[in-house]
């Protein structure tokens, strides 16, 4: 039931922005073609589509970061020409970009107000006012305890970086706010605070654009749902009048098999054995993962899951306790851990995993080169074959495996990270937020690969902030809080409520953002 794009009457509410016949090319790649779409004021318009469908590109055009190669924008009934993000900001258009951009050596407060710092006469920075403002905004937006305004940008966790971007967009007057996968590194608590915020924005008449791959979120928030496919508008749906199946069909052009389920194949053979392990921020971890088992690791922001993963992978020093893989001790260096049979697909793809200026092929093969070489020469044929195989299985949207990774969409970049580690086939594979930003179709494929690996006897430790995903995948869920394991749930007993209970053991009252108007 595709509604053709249509912006004839009824008259648009004030604050409506939109694009008319907009297209964008990057060299030979056509990212967008002829998209006409409105974002009405006082409504949440969700934007969906497979990885690489053009969602981020559309938002970047809307916010002045990219200039369209065809078509134009409008706001409040006037044609809009944006030559820079500054123009867009001035017009009242904001974005929370897919990848947070943080300034490393300045404080959170300066990060948030960069470009519009409060000042006194003579351009003197007004530090008192800056402090007042950040505290007020943190309070108003419900992030008061989560983000210390004096922290430096370089000290922030991925979730905190995301919060900085949200704060940036929500300060000052805004007519249009675009969220590009804002929840992909947030945990439940922050997600709830964010949703409350978005609802308030809508009530204030702001036009909200919301990009996400998470169906649940979309149906909780959106008034309208626009679907992009291959850079074109596949349809616009009324949220109340559509369903998951229909959206998926619009996105991928076919039906997807029903909910993912897998059988338990775990053996009794312990592969990864962690005893009393502590690092600087993680304490007394006891954990076993068996061959063929998928263990899920749940927790809120800063629970210490990523830190545990990095310690096992040899990148953070172990202060006490032991970790062994098939009896061989872990620790030392990432190289040693990999040689011992451990693989880690880390959490932050750009900072920790990708070589942005290298090809998909290079990025896929980097951890398996020693299997692909003869003497020390890389066997190009074998390498290409490997990269080709995973690029196809994970449905990476790219003209060729020689494409530079920086030119891929966020979700497709994530697939390349996974391809590297899936290709490596280690005995223990740790996946830290593996489906961050990944579309529905590819998610299903990744789940299938995880299931295959388990069947082949690989021991898997999956860290995810998306609880439904963990519940569907894991044989067992281990929950962390404050650097410690607070409990463990078997597949049969695991429910969202049970996991959340353990994740917030001390503080079971959800912090509701304080009421108050947003601007």
């Amino acid at each position: 039931m595709t509604t053709p794009p249509d912006h004839s009457p009824p008259p648009l509410p004030p604050g409506t922005a939109g694009v008319v016949a907009v297209g964008k090319r990057f060299g030979a790649v056509r990212a967008l073609g002829g998209v006409t779409l409105d974002f009405p004021g006082g409504q949440v318009t969700a934007l969906m589509g497979e990885n690489g469908a053009g969602k981020s590109t559309l938002l970047k055009i809307l916010t002045g970061d990219h200039q369209p190669t065809e078509g134009h924008l409008h706001l409040d009934g006037h044609r809009l020409d944006l030559r820079s993000p500054a123009d867009a900001r001035a017009a009242g258009i904001r974005i929370i970009p897919q990848e947070p951009e943080i300034i490393p050596h300045v404080t959170v407060a300066e990060n948030v107000y960069a470009g519009s710092l409060p000042r006194r006469a003579g351009r003197r920075l007004d530090r008192a006012e800056l402090r007042r403002r950040i505290l007020a905004d943190l309070e108003r937006l419900g992030f008061a305890g989560v983000l210390d305004p004096d922290l430096l940008g370089s000290q922030l966790t991925p979730a905190q970086r995301q919060l900085v971007e949200i704060l940036r967009a929500l300060t000052g007057e805004a007519k249009v706010i675009a969220f590009d996968e804002p929840t992909s590194s947030l945990s439940e608590q922050e997600v709830e605070a964010l949703f409350a915020l978005i609802r308030r924005l809508r009530a204030d008449g702001v036009a909200v654009v919301y990009v996400s791959h998470r169906m649940q979120e979309i149906f909780r928030l959106a008034d309208r749902i626009a679907v992009l496919r291959d850079g074109e508008l596949a349809g616009v749906q009324d949220a109340a009048a559509t369903n998951e199946g229909e959206l998926v069909r619009l996105m991928v052009g076919r039906d997807l098999s029903a909910m993912f389920t897998r059988e338990r194949v775990a053996t009794d053979r312990v592969v990864l054995d962690v005893k009393g392990l502590s690092t600087d921020d993680v304490h007394g971890i006891d954990l076993r993962v068996h061959a063929g088992e998928v263990v899920g690791l749940a927790g809120l922001i800063g629970a210490g899951r990523s830190e545990l993963a990095l310690a096992l992978a040899g990148d953070l020093p172990i202060r006490s306790g032991t970790a062994t893989l098939n009896g061989k001790p872990l620790g030392g260096s990432p190289g040693a851990a990999i040689r011992a049979g451990l693989g880690l697909a880390p959490e932050e793809r750009k900072a920790q995993a990708l070589f942005l200026h290298r090809s998909i092929r290079d990025n896929t093969s980097v951890a398996v080169l020693e299997r692909l070489r003869r003497f020390r020469f890389v066997r190009r044929g074998a390498e290409k074959q490997l990269a080709q195989e995973y690029t196809e299985r994970l449905r990476v949207r790219t003209p060729s495996i020689e494409h530079e990774v920086r030119k891929l969409s966020g979700g497709n970049q994530q697939k390349v990270v996974l391809a590297r580690w899936l290709a490596r086939k280690p005995e223990v594979l740790i996946l830290d937020e593996p489906t961050r930003g990944i579309d529905v179709g590819a998610k299903a494929e990744i789940y299938r690969i995880i299931a295959d690996l388990a069947e082949q006897g690989v021991a898997l430790l999956v860290i995810s902030s998306e609880l439904p995903e963990l519940l569907g995948l894991a044989d067992r869920i281990v929950v962390m809080q404050g650097g410690r394991i607070t409990g463990e749930l078997d597949r049969a007993d695991a429910t969202e409520e049970a996991v959340l209970h353990l994740a917030m053991a001390d503080d079971l009252t959800p912090r509701n953002p304080s009421p108050g108007a947003t601007s």
């Binding site: 970061d65 820079s84 993000p85 500054a86 900001r89 001035a90 974005i95 970009p97 951009e101 943080i102 300034i103 490393p104 050596h105 300045v106 404080t107 300066e110 990060n111 960069a114 470009g115 519009s116 710092l117 000042r119 003579g122 351009r123 003197r124 920075l125 530090r127 402090r131 004096d150 430096l152 940008g153 940036r168 990148d315 953070l316 020093p317 260096s333």
Partner: protein, 341 residues
Amino acid sequence: MTALTSPPARPEAARGSVLPSLIARLGAQHLSLIGALVVVLAVFGTLNDNYLSLGNLQVIAEAATITGLLAVVQTVVIICGGLDISVGSQAGVASVVSAMAFTSAGSNAYAGIAAAVAVGLLIGLLNGAVIVHGRVNPTIATLAGLAAYKGLAQLISDGRAQGYVLGDPVFVFLGRGRIAGLPVMVWLLVLVALAVHVLLARTDLGRNLYAIGGNDTAARLAGININKYLIAVYGLIGIVAAVAGVLLTARTGSGQPTSGSEGLELKAITAAALGGCALKGGKGGVGGTLLAVALLGCLENGLTVQGINSFWQNVAQGALLVVAVVIQQRRSGERAIGLPA
């Protein structure tokens, strides 16, 4: 007034009275530099009675002024993610221009200074334009400038020292005058350093420079006009390099196309880096840079005063540079490329 150093990570420290906070802040951030400085002063002071005399300290300060000026502006451009390798050549052009304009304006010092500053500004803006509009990497653009402006200085001067300014009271005042017992040159350095410090630490302009150097995408998305800032910063460098060139003329008595300015870029960059500027941008401050300038100046003077031959001086300077940085790195706990934490 806060300390002469990079912006406070914890603004609380910036409160309180000026001097103790200044010392506390400089101390915490630059302990290794201060330690090295104390060691250098103590060692040479013990070996030589005159080393710590007021006279010698003034000599050290005066000798370090021109490098200091260039190091201060180098700090600014490094903070915003650039680099200027052409500062020495720029100073050379300014030196020659100041002397030649002075002469042809009938021994008018103000004409000489104005001409030098104007030319410096022009060159700086040209550098900025090449980098911003030509999209040339700052290192390469100013590497090219290093050669081109040197050639320019040689061409306009025919490769020879130009003019003679020692008969002029203004130049003599700049080169030899004192105010309140301190050389005029040193006052100039103090003024420029303070102004740049205030710019960096206390104005929104300065904070935007840290943003640009720390993450240019973030800065752009925040609506900061990076191009304008970069061009302005290179323009500022041009002006300060011109002041350095004028001082060169005042000190040596004539306009020098290359002598006295060659190699200044390396000294300025060394001081900025030793003072804590991260070469990839976004970090650093005037305080650290000045400390580094002082350290290098005291060391050089001490070695010379002790009659150490210049070959050993090279070895000693290289070694000290490494030692100071090693200590600094260990303290800051920062991970250099690829090292385990």
